[in-house]
């Protein structure tokens, strides 16, 4: 009996949680240019329940928009560890995937996945607001099925992530 009610609670909780994801308004790179059109009247983002909030303590989604320096990576790791569970990370643009335009730069990291766990990538340089909204709906779908568990992977594989961070951050 207890096991069934826990599953039902988890199902209801996921269904309600997916409709109210709060975004962290922290523009790390050049891709943050596409966020204001998504938030305002034309491609309205608030009808899905996604609202920008300013502190990591209050937000659910960390959007890594664009390229990531080693200097920014140190701060992003601090911000990610300050957020409260459950939390999700979305990688914007082609720079977190494989370096993007800055593949031969000495200070841009090439693979974001080695340092913090990423749930979703959006391809494009920069993705248009329609692509961003499609990605948010995909994330809501993953939350509903219970598959967006980046925060659990971070806690379980903490040594792997910390070793990679220390190697590149010094």
């Amino acid at each position: 009996m207890d096991k069934m009610t826990e599953e039902q609670y988890r199902a209801i909780s996921n269904m309600l949680r997916k409709r109210s994801l709060w975004m962290l308004h922290y523009c790390t790179g050049c891709g943050a240019m596409e966020l204001p059109p998504t938030m305002t009247s034309r491609y309205d983002m608030e009808r899905f329940g996604i609202v920008p909030y300013v502190t990591p303590r209050q937000a659910d989604i960390l959007l890594v928009t664009g390229y990531v320096n080693t200097k920014t990576l140190r701060r992003i790791v601090t911000v990610y560890e300050q957020m409260l569970d459950p939390k999700y990370v979305i990688g914007f643009g082609s720079c977190p995937i494989n370096g993007g335009v800055y593949w031969d730069s000495y200070s841009v990291i090439k693979q974001l996945d080695k340092y913090i766990p990423v749930d979703l990538y959006i391809a494009g340089c920069m993705p248009r607001p329609e692509a961003i909204i499609t990605a948010f709906r995909h994330l809501m779908d993953l939350v509903d099925k219970g598959k967006a568990d980046g925060y659990r992977r971070y806690k379980e594989n903490l040594d792997y992530y910390k070793k990679n961070q220390r190697k590149v951050l010094g």
Binding site: S20, G49, T55, D85
Partner: protein
């Protein structure tokens, strides 16, 4: 009869909370329609509060940080019992309007102490701004209440409400004090010309900067109660309460829609401009209203 009292003790805050939450729901929808877009889902504030209360982190900065939202919520629930609802006197016999002014400060003070305990400079700036704003709007607020007390020769809130029954609302009889009262309600709610304390782009939402998860859920419930308290106080003082709950809700709704219309279009005052504004125009209007009552 113990059963009836327990029912009242649980039912009245629940009723106040549902009125506050429904006004919050209307607020997001109306604000979205003003900006020519569809708004969020209609029951979005409830989903937000559920999500916040279901977060799993535990972060604590000390005992006062945890107690801050709890004391604020307790203070708000206490104040709800001192404002008469239609048809029920509640506890207005024990405390009059002047005591109500003192009890209403406890909530802000508890939030300020809790936010000061979290070691964030943004919180300290936000708390300083909130208390400065309270200094600003208390002056016309007290003058307006003194005007009403002098007009109706009583400080009991229920008696003031009864004296306006039958169409002679204080809003028509004392129009200048009513205008000053509405402007004070803007500041007390933290709506847009005067929301320098909770400014997301300047100080990261002021006192709420370090709160997340369950604490933030309690603070949002507190905000719903706060909306109910401010609007119910205005309706009781100036529009003569109501005979049943639907008229009460309709009056609160009309005032709230008026507030939203101004809120969505106006930018934000700097904190010293806000205090200077409060000590100039609403004070002058309230003083003229007071002089009219004294002379007549």
């Amino acid at each position: 009869m113990v059963g009836k009292e327990i029912l009242i003790a649980i039912g009245i805050p629940l009723l106040a909370f549902s009125i506050g939450i429904s006004l919050m729901m209307f607020r997001r929808k109306i604000a979205a329609r003003i900006q020519r877009r569809y708004g969020p889902n209609f029951i979005q504030p409830l989903i937000d509060i559920f999500k916040l209360l279901a977060k799993k982190g535990n972060i604590t900065h000390g005992i006062m940080y945890d107690l801050g939202p709890i004391i604020a919520l307790a203070a708000s629930i206490t104040v709800v019992f001192f404002i008469p609802m239609p048809g029920m006197k509640l506890m207005t016999g024990s405390a009059d309007v002047i005591a109500l002014l003192y009890i209403m400060v406890i909530g802000s003070l508890a939030t300020a102490l809790g936010a000061g305990e979290s070691a964030n400079p943004n919180s300290s700036i936000g708390v300083a701004r909130a208390l400065t704003l309270m200094l600003g709007y208390d002056l016309p607020f007290v003058i307006v209440i003194i005007t009403l007390v002098l007009k109706y020769h009583t400080t009991n809130l229920y008696a003031i409400m009864q004296a306006q029954a039958g169409g002679s609302w204080a809003m028509w009889v004392l129009p200048l004090s009513a205008i000053a009262g509405i402007i004070v309600t803007y500041g007390a709610l933290g709506e847009h010309p005067f929301d320098a304390a909770v400014a997301p782009n300047e100080v990261a939402t002021g006192p709420m900067a370090e709160y997340g998860g369950k604490h933030l859920g309690l603070l949002m419930i507190n905000h719903a109660f706060h909306i109910y308290i401010e609007l119910a106080l205005f309706v009781d003082l100036f529009m003569g309460g109501a005979s049943n709950i639907f008229y009460f809700y309709a009056k609160m709704f009309v005032i709230f829609v008026l507030i939203i219309f101004f809120d969505e279009v106006l930018p934000r005052f700097r904190i010293d401009d806000a205090v200077r504004f409060y000590w100039r125009w609403p004070t002058i209007l309230a003083l003229i209203g007071l002089i009219i009552v004294l002379v007549k």
